[in-house]
Assembly symmetry: D3
Homo-oligomer: 315 residues x 6
């Protein structure tokens, strides 16, 4: 008697019973959510499809570095055109799924959803060359910002901060065009592989660099200038959620910091609320900032704190 | 001459020699561990198999959202029954591997291991409908807890905190049934993809929500009430490991915090030891808490600290 | 008319135009980087290839735990020899790609690059048995350092800190032999899956253990003694980058801490600059250390800070 | 210098030139075929998709024999329902591709194509239980017809003739419903793996068995009764194509043999034209038959021929 | 509205109804076959598993020709040992499935089945070196027998007749050891890829060569001497199935030809019944032979037949 | 005790012993073949690589029919350029493997092999547009030659005879350029999937059509004119191999038939030797032809034979 049979013997599971109970749970949920129980197909974009899409987009933006290993430079344009065609039509399909899904609430006709999807795809495609140019400034910023970097190629291949900004710039374009769910999915795929969590709504200037990166969180309404440098575990968050006169959360209201040009924020710093960090300011590691910081200022943890830490005491 | 041949030519590696030295290293280790050197097959559960198992479990709990993209609603029950059958038998096989492995120490006969595996599989299966129902409260908590969330569907698709609690509730069931190694493996697979590290022993109430999540650590004996909300980089840890009168570590002794209902803990807060955070309390970002906190209290970093931070000084 | 056709109809994208604009962006970049525009093949190592290489290396170092599930102990040596052969030749190919790439700057002839690659492969192969032996000390350190660990096997299967040190010891060997780009790629692959970011240049003694691990950052010139234990979100970083008399960054100059034997560093501690933490010292959670710490010292956040935190105040 | 670079150096291919010439060839072809040059997507069913469909169909018809290896009998219905749902919707998509393609010529509106596809899918689904029942007679015929067969299970697993009749009965149903291109594709996939070429239009009664099978060809208008047995390399073909009064080929006109019940046709026999082989007749190996054969007749190659063959002579 | 939804709308399939009808069909079949309806797992060997097994076996017999492309000669033994271990244990598992299946009829206890499986695996393993040596004679025979062959390597890579004899010799060993179902499955996998159908029971001497091969059929009790050469579409079949006095088919009774050493049989020849083709005889193309042929004879189609063919007449 | 362990227990295989015996067998073979025993890497082209190459080649010749399912017509050129680049460089690598292998015998230097490979790749690339144009005539011939064909698209998707001629024209180009081993491998891959065995050396004119196809064999020196149509199981073979005055086989000497324009050859016909079938002749099914046939002749099996067949007699 095999192990398999043995197990079956001692295991008279009533699968049908569990299936029925799971069905009840789903029905209760759907009724509670005010949903029709009428059967339909799945109508949400797919994580797996978007994962493949991002691989293609990285490849077509940086063909000789992030594209297929056997690509030769004199076939770059063929590769890009062919990949672009596939990318745009996959994107169009996923967009239609998103728009149809949200159309239930927005009373959008299928035809309108389709036309909107086509518009977004066109605009996204047209934005790619400019995206590549601004990403080049980010790559240079990483190369110059880390003394350990040996070449721009190493930066493109290895740095999670560079992958995070590539993903963000693409997600942000989609977000700006109204594809908020796709944008969010891309941001979370990026979060899962880089540990860097940038909301696709965040506005980020050229020459941006995140070093190490694990634990960085950048909120939806954050605005970041040019040549900003950020280290791991930095939070650009909301202090509290703004509410309107009736106490309802005001969605999309500015609630995250404005970081002006040339700011550096060291690891573990927390910057909360719609405050402004002035141009050229430096925020030291682990600082906690909830008020405006003037241009050029240099903030650090107070001496007392550091001193306290160095006076040994039992823990 | 090809590159391959060239390399071979200049590379007269004695593979046999390295193989022998690696064998010596393994033999020394096995002897040091008091193991028999007698040949046997691999007897541990497989990360890869568990990874596939979790994909199936997510799918059968939320078929139209996390199941296969082409699933239609009127075939849900067929999909669930078919997936459940596969899941339970895979789980049974992995469980037997775990139990046989630990049986070496526990003097468990193969037959006893098998019967225990069958019991655990049955109990796990029976728990799934209740798990789905409590996860529905978590999904709603995420939707209501984040003003940026547009729909419960977006929450299920995108939020790492939601994936982490799905994984945890499944792992915790297995842990409670005695499958500690499988539970631990699932927890680590979840940690690797979400950045959220919840020990499968932790007890967590309904309507739980972790936002952003990277760097969250929740210890084995933590107890969390209902409607608790937690942000990234929060630690619910042990202050020190309790020892018995002989100085031995007391395994499993309560050493992590108790978080009562409706507590909110902001990013970076550290809560250590078997203390209680009273119902409705709020812990501000980056606070360091090692004593009980009364119900309803609102803790934040002291003004002095924030002030210190805003007085610029060189770093 | 299918959805696909509909979309095409409303979507008269000029792919050729976008391809041309992307080409212009690449050309501008290549000219700005002083590169020849002459076509060539891709000449960088591949993330995907290295990912497979690491799976093989984990398997050949710990065949019955991290190797293929169906491996039997009496075929271990055959498996190892066969895997080793594949590993070394794949490594040789990737090394040649790295060396040819850097050879452009270093005026290395193809023949010299090849001979250097062969030398590195040989040395790397010869180091594997010693690597296995030191990793055994790390496994034991993890087992003894975490009261929740039930067996050395669980430690090998589950602990991200153990996987991170396996990856690091392999990457560090390559780094020491001059394969800095491959070493860096391995380190980033490890970072992406464990959340632990160890620069391959860091020197780490035996019996090293990182628990939980997410957010740990260890810098290039850090030196860590034996029996050191580190928790999540610990940073061993640089305070500032040293510059020479002309203000240029001095690459490779010692700028990260020296951690002596038997030190324990709790979660969230930040240790910056070329300082020394004396043997047997303990750094408490979240401390911020920028000066030397004497041997045996125990540092913790000051009482005042903890007190401040426990006096409730509005946030 | 690597092999790759060397090759590139000596290989200044003008890919653009070849691409242009291939475009010219396609344009000439499309103009000659009277096709619009206006861009559109691919609109034909996919061999690969159909290959997967057939695997699913074999599995749902014979779940414990041709279904997934880990399927358990008490989950059969779940497996079948889930597979059936996937099969029918994949089939629906492929059908729409076929119907849209042929609609160009048939002036079928997209809506009509869709409605026709839905009708065919429904009818195909409804036919599956009857298909299973008639296939059971074929399996028994194979088991009884070959003295070497040990069990009906061996017959289902191993016999190419059985796989060919499973494929044919499914293809024939589609053919009868008007899905001639899908039917043809299935027939050719079957031909490629079994070496047996049955046109999907052929009508075949119950308890049909083909032994060995390589080289068997059965034409579109062949009609085969019950309990017929056929060996390898048998042809049931057309003698000549019937033409109408203007000399045009009459498509679909009966031109292949009628084989009545209980006929046996041995290897290599050729039966041509709209003739009838009477019930119970036996056609010996390699016979060449172009006229009706009465019921019960036994045909064989003439003695003279066999004799000739046994008188040795030089070749 | 997407195509998918449209289709669903017009397609209210009652999947449950079809599932029920298919269940009825299976139940009827199982009752008719005298089978228990009690649920159990699948208990037959798997085509897919055997397919992988054959790839491994080809590789370990001819490592530098049919093994993995990146294998180097100095790692051959490691590769073979590692592959052999996997092969034998996979074979053992499949054998147990076969033996348990047939044990139902043979009243074999699980323990006996297991012990028999172990015996067969051991004997099969021990036979592999001799199998390699006899296959070397087949490779040489192919090389010398076809003037178009340029090297023994080409023969091993390209010739379907060589792949067929490799498969046959392995299948025949299993058949002789009693693993008739596995042997049959291997033979059919070979038939499907080469078009050559050799029953695993056939006995074939050294230096055997089949050229082209499509359509060759060799029966279960055929006995073939050394240095025999056969062309495409040759049948070595049974004239009629021998029956015992009660009219029952006598299974396994000799009913296929004996081909002595050094015989050549040209394309399309049919040799039927337990006759003997004497040593050194040559059978011309398309001859039909049902009587013994003396040693050294040369048979061909009679002149009259050829002449008939060359006198033009209408068809 | 699991099945796995049980088996191991009763199965103390000495793998090392079998590995050693297999090594002895290889050593004997290598010595007998006059080969150096000095270790080296595998140096033969790979079936798997060529299989992928053929998929790419079919796709770039017929992008909207045999290319990727999601390809859109306005991206055809990008797809073709990108695929062509990959194809040519893969072909170049495989060619170098072939040339190096044969160079051992031909005393070709590595540099010469490389230069010859580059030449062949260039010439092959340049031939593709003409290959597409002649294949268009074959597609039309198939469409017009089979009354069952509904469209040229069906012909391209389904007909094995069309796939066989696509493969042959590509293989023949390589053969003519001297890449005989690659050509042979392609021919055998085609044989395995279509059952049609055309030697890559055969010369075939435009508008060629093979219907059904299983069992067709066309020899190396066959010459076929334009508009020739052939049915299944037709052999265009050699009568005997020509030898020179010393009795050695004369390789490459013309020994297969010349088929002039507009000939039709029905199923099972055998045409042997360097004879000529005159333009417009028709060879009936199963005829056996070893002498020249005049233009316009119509050959068929003699009446007597057909008559003999219809007079029933026992078999």
């Amino acid at each position: 008697m095999t192990r398999h049979d043995d197990l079956a013997h001692t295991l008279p599971l009533d699968i049908g019973q569990i299936v029925a109970e799971l069905r009840d749970a789903r029905t209760d949920w759907r009724l509670a959510q005010g949903r029709s129980l009428e059967p339909r197909g799945r109508d949400l974009p797919s994580r797996e499809v978007l994962r493949g899409l991002m691989v293609d987009l990285h490849g077509l933006l940086f063909p000789m570095r992030l594209g297929p290993p056997d690509l030769r430079q004199d076939a770059e344009d063929f590769y890009i055109g062919s990949t672009l065609d596939r990318v745009l039509h996959t994107l169009g399909e996923q967009l239609q799924l998103e728009l149809q899904h949200s159309a239930r609430h927005a009373h959008l006709s299928p035809r309108e959803a389709q036309s909107r999807a086509a518009h977004i795809v066109r605009a996204f495609a047209a934005s790619l060359p400019a995206t590549r140019r601004i990403l080049d400034t980010d790559v240079l910023a990483a190369y110059h910002g880390d003394p350990a970097a040996h070449s721009v190629d190493e930066v493109l291949l290895c740095y999670p901060g560079v992958h995070a900004i590539i993903n963000h710039r693409l997600a942000h374009t989609l977000y700006s065009l109204g594809a908020t769910l796709l944008a969010r999915l891309i941001a979370e795929l990026s979060h899962a592989t880089t540990g860097i969590d940038i909301h696709p709504g965040a506005t980020i200037g050229a020459s941006f660099f995140i070093d190490h990166g694990t634990g960085v969180v950048i909120g939806e309404t954050a605005v970041i200038g040019q040549r900003v440098r950020i280290y791991q575990a930095v939070t650009l968050g909301a202090k509290r959620f703004p509410t309107d006169e009736t106490g309802q959360l005001k969605k999309g209201a500015p609630r995250h910091p404005v970081i002006e040009d040339d700011v550096v924020i060291y690891a573990g710093a927390t910057v909360l609320g719609r405050i402004t960090i002035g141009a050229g300011a430096t925020l030291g590691g682990n600082v906690w900032v909830t008020h405006n910081v003037p241009a050029g200022a240099q903030l650090a943890l107070s001496h007392s704190q550091d001193a306290a830490a160095t006076s040994p005491e039992p823990i």
